[in-house]
Symmetry: C2
Subunit: 222 residues, 2 copies
DNA sequence: CCAAAAGTGTTCGTACTACACCCATGC
DNA sequence: GCATGGGTGTAGTACGAACACTTTTGG
């Protein structure tokens, strides 16, 4: 079956920058392409928008189909509309970024992808299409937004220590933070509470565990 | 001539929120639609993306064709990808916003529009499609961005007074500003310089005229 | 001389920065 | 008992907020 229009129509895809902090680095999930173009090269997960689904729905679907991830923070990033992004036809890509807690990482490669793998964002292989630019913008946006909103907490698992939180902030914004000042700042936000539990991870004082109070919210601050 | 694809393709448009401060209010340029759907109703200027132009180019072209405006600040806002935005077919709209100085306002209605007219953003008529939502997002983005960048100066004519600048800031962000604090803040940005000229507008002390030093730049501050 | 907008400094409070030591645990 | 990361307070600074009077002009 084919579809015919009076004027030429571009194809529309969503591409998703899936970010997490893992092994002490900000990482992005890449997929080795199983089809042309760029077969065998790494790319952001994503795919064509169905005609009867919204872009948000499409992004969420691709996130689940290609990475097996759902129920995470997902936000539109930018729309890339250059004319030669894709060798096949004119393709407009609406990019999204997703934030997932570093712990809950379980990967399943999707149907049209050979493999999925985490890469440190400052050490990615050569990317397909203009995905390097997309990734760059996502990292910039995340870093900026972590300074004026509480999105950063979307990278946290259900329970976490303050040291882990600080580590995530330092890795995602690529800036060191003073431990005492960071904690004062975090508490002033009123978005976490102590669980009462402690977490032991070695021959030293155990750390208190915290949880996010309203996991749904992302507050703007300042 | 027709164009045929193996899978259904959405149409892609750009819509542009053209903002200025005029007669003491933040205003948006609307166009009375000359064609169905929504014939005779007001809408944001915009139109279908050509297959061989980038989205940025498309937005700039629509801006010129429908409003006779070029060479102004134009930035991508958000992409609206709901499924029933347009009764004709699936249409994805990449929204942009443009900022133009309140003085250089000359309007020419375009080819597929009956009339163009400025409306105060908080007193617009009923809009076509989901353009009310688009306009709302543009106003929010402008207000936010005026607080952490120097975009606001894109609303300034070549020469302007500090009172006028303050008025624009107050109208665009809908917040009153203290005159002395506002001036201290503006000077600390280092983006304007005195022209040496003065501007008399009535039976009172004339105001000094300023100009933007690097009109191309938009700096982020903080 | 009067009305009207332009111009100009200081004080205060708050929020960010810098900085160093004791604590609890496992081995 | 020692090595390791967890946890805590204070002092200085810088920036934003509040606030009122004098100046210059046109009529």
């Amino acid at each position: 079956m084919t579809y015919t229009y009076e004027y030429p129509h571009p194809a529309v895809t969503t591409d998703i920058v899936i970010l997490t902090v893992l092994d002490g680095a900000l990482k992005v999930l890449l997929i080795k392409r199983g089809m042309e173009p760029f077969k065998g090269k790494w790319a952001l997960p994503g795919g064509f928008a169905k005609i009867d689904e919204s872009l948000d729905t499409c992004a969420a679907r691709e996130l689940e189909e290609e990475a097996g991830i759902k129920g995470v923070y997902l936000e539109q990033l930018y729309t890339f509309g250059g004319i030669n992004r894709d060798p096949r036809e004119r393709v407009i890509s609406v990019a999204y970024y997703a934030l997932i807690p570093g712990k809950n990482v379980t990967l399943e490669a999707g149907t049209d992808a050979d493999e999925a793998e985490w890469f440190a964002v400052d050490d990615v292989p050569e990317l397909s299409f203009d995905h390097a630019e997309v990734l760059g913008m996502a990292c910039k946006r995340l870093a900026a937004k972590m300074d004026y909103s509480t999105v950063g907490f979307k990278l946290m698992p259900d329970e976490f220590t303050l040291s882990y939180l600080q580590d995530v902030y330092e890795k995602a914004t690529d800036k060191p933070r003073d431990k005492r000042n960071f904690r004062k700042w975090v508490f002033s936000l009123n978005v976490i509470e102590a669980t009462g539990k402690k977490y032991s991870s070695g021959p030293h004082r155990p750390a208190m565990l915290y949880r996010v109070i309203n996991p749904e919210d992302v507050k703007n601050i300042r």
